[in-house]
Symmetry: C2
Subunit: 380 residues, 2 copies
């Protein structure tokens, strides 16, 4: 484990309820606190594991007050003073901007990299190499994003349109960003892929703390001033927080900065997923299992993830299955028997059971909305 | 409630694990102890309710020793001395024959009617009228069975081939029986239905106790003698029971008696089901719900049971469903959410969960066999 860049800080925003992963993910125990991949590490633990070789103890986690205890327990290596507890959710700009202001206080020239607590990333050594490229570009004053090479015409992510190569030393994969575009419909996504110019926007940003805040001050001066006041005097947190503007970092900084020619993208060719729903989780588990099988065989993994001919489990599910594919997640220890189900999703928790298919995984959110609307928030 | 026939006794064999209804039905709590139809009465309670108007307190239940307490609690109107507790399962001839011998001891001319504890029967007034016809025929010395009018070419039941009308007074629906045939394959079942001569064998027999035992003595003298010795001296039960021949009443008496021209059938045109599996249960619940709807509308029920466009529940299942059909049975009180599942079967119990489809309902037994084979009998 090496930390060659003392001025580099990792910021891990740990938010989002992961509603489409209900009833595993709950508002009281969101996605990032779960070991969804069956690796023995929760998503936030894996995120910290992935970043520690880059950042050492320069790790900041921004999370909701109600999750601070759980986060502290799961990632004890993140110093208590570096767990920033949001009094309430105020979207990604406030979360990341607060961390940037805290870092700026300590080291005005420091660079921050912001990486969500609940994404899955493969080929971690290569990933860290790409982050180091991003750091090199950030040193030049850019806002740098890592743009994921799209593997299919996804309609669930925003896209980044890249321009010419930047030619920054130590960053051969860095290009200028022409624009950020919103989640497209399918024909548009297909067009994007055909051009070869588009990357998925995974919300990963690397930038000097001061550059981020100064850019933000151009378009959102009050928000910036509030964040800097909190960083200078933490006792002002409660007083300031609720009046901070609610806005996503993409709209607040990335899009206008791209229009101003201030954004770069590093082409990120490693496997990435935000585990948006059970369809996505099942696909990841299928890939992971294919990789394991290929390793066991000493063979190639190039076909991994295309088929899903098995029933995968999350957690210590005790499963007896016949002719079934899909995913069983259990938190109860009960026997789960599945017979003749294709692409099924079974999620078994002490107070709620979900049965659906991978194809309907997007509709889980609707059930959570129904429960909330009927006042059954104990289950959400 | 009238009991016009003081010499008529009802015998209710309460056995069978109902393995294809696992994990609702267990060896320790078989099908007949459950309120599968959501009527507020368990199957054995409904059976007793149906027969009391015919038999008054002339009711005998034959069940396994481990179920005696549960049966006594569920049907307290069956006198304690009329709960016959089998030391071990020895098939239907021993169970019904024991009850016949007990009745014969009390009244040598009495007639018994044997009706399983776990069947569902509709149009109960008509059913009782048909049983009274069967009693009239039994008085003439016949072994009388109630043959169910088949509604589809079932391959899961044996069939009864009927001959000429018998012309017994008070029994216009009674015919001679030509033969009993085993469960057919589908083409054979279709042929049976086309002839109009075949009825389903539902295992319902009405016969003088002495006639049954005397016929049995012709082909199985030792079994008959053992049963009569137990009835004469109940203290001999444990000593005699385990050496009784294991044989079904169909093979032991019904088939040979039919060949000897001693069996009659009363055409039974009421709805009947043995709830063999979750497919069958789901169909029954769909029919019951269609009947309820039609009643609420004051309309006809003639279409009942053909469609299944709803998700039906067994027990106090707390269900949130979207675009789903089939059945949810819950014993846990948890929220069960089902999204986009056709003809699904979800059975939620404290220690085991089953997810399958109506089409695969027959394969549930295989899972139970797997569990038994791996020594997990706590779950079966």
């Amino acid at each position: 484990m090496t930390n060659t860049q003392d001025d580099f800080w990792c910021v891990i925003p740990a938010g989002g309820a992961g509603t489409r992963l209900w009833p595993l993910s709950r508002s009281g125990a969101p996605k990032f606190l779960h070991d969804l991949m069956g690796t023995g590490r929760t998503l936030i633990q894996s995120t910290v594991d992935r970043l520690e070789p880059l950042a050492g103890d320069h790790l900041l986690v921004v999370t909701g007050r109600r999750h601070v205890e759980a986060v502290a327990e799961q990632v004890p290596q993140v110093a208590r003073g570096r767990l920033l507890a949001e009094p309430s959710p105020r979207d990604s700009m406030a979360a990341i901007g607060w961390a940037a202001a805290v870092v700026e206080q300590q080291d005005p020239d420091a660079i921050i990299g912001s990486f969500a607590a609940d994404h899955v990333i493969g080929e971690e050594a290569r990933f860290r190499e790409l982050v180091e490229q991003a750091v090199a570009v950030a040193r030049e004053g850019y806002v740098v994003t890592l743009g994921i090479e799209p593997t299919y015409p996804a309609t669930g992510f925003g896209y980044i349109r890249e321009g010419d190569a930047l030619g920054v030393e130590g960053a051969p994969d860095a290009h200028a960003v022409v624009e950020f575009v919103e989640k497209p419909d399918l024909p548009t996504a297909e067009k994007y892929l055909a051009t070869g110019e588009y990357r998925w926007n995974a919300g990963m940003f690397v930038v000097k703390a001061k550059v981020l805040l100064d850019l933000l001050a151009t378009w959102h001066p009050e928000l910036t001033a509030g964040l800097r006041r909190i960083a200078a005097d933490p006792s002002r947190l409660d007083e300031e927080w609720d009046s901070l503007e609610r806005i996503a970092i993409d709209h607040a900084v990335a899009e206008p900065a791209a229009a101003a020619g201030r954004v770069a993208v590093v082409r990120c060719d490693v496997p990435w997923d935000d585990i948006g729903d059970f369809h996505s989780l099942a696909g990841l588990l299928a890939t992971a299992s294919a990789v394991d099988d290929a390793r066991a065989d000493g063979g190639s993994t190039s076909d991994a993830g295309t088929g899903d001919t098995a029933l995968h489990t999350v957690g210590t599910a005790d499963v007896v299955s016949v002719d079934s594919t899909g995913i069983v997640a259990s938190r109860t220890g009960r026997l789960v028997s599945v017979i003749g189900m294709d692409d099924v999703v079974v999620v078994d928790t002490p107070d709620a059971l979900l049965v659906t298919t991978r194809g309907r995984a997007q509709h889980v959110k609707g059930v959570v909305d129904t429960l909330k609307a009927s006042g059954r928030t104990d289950l959400t």
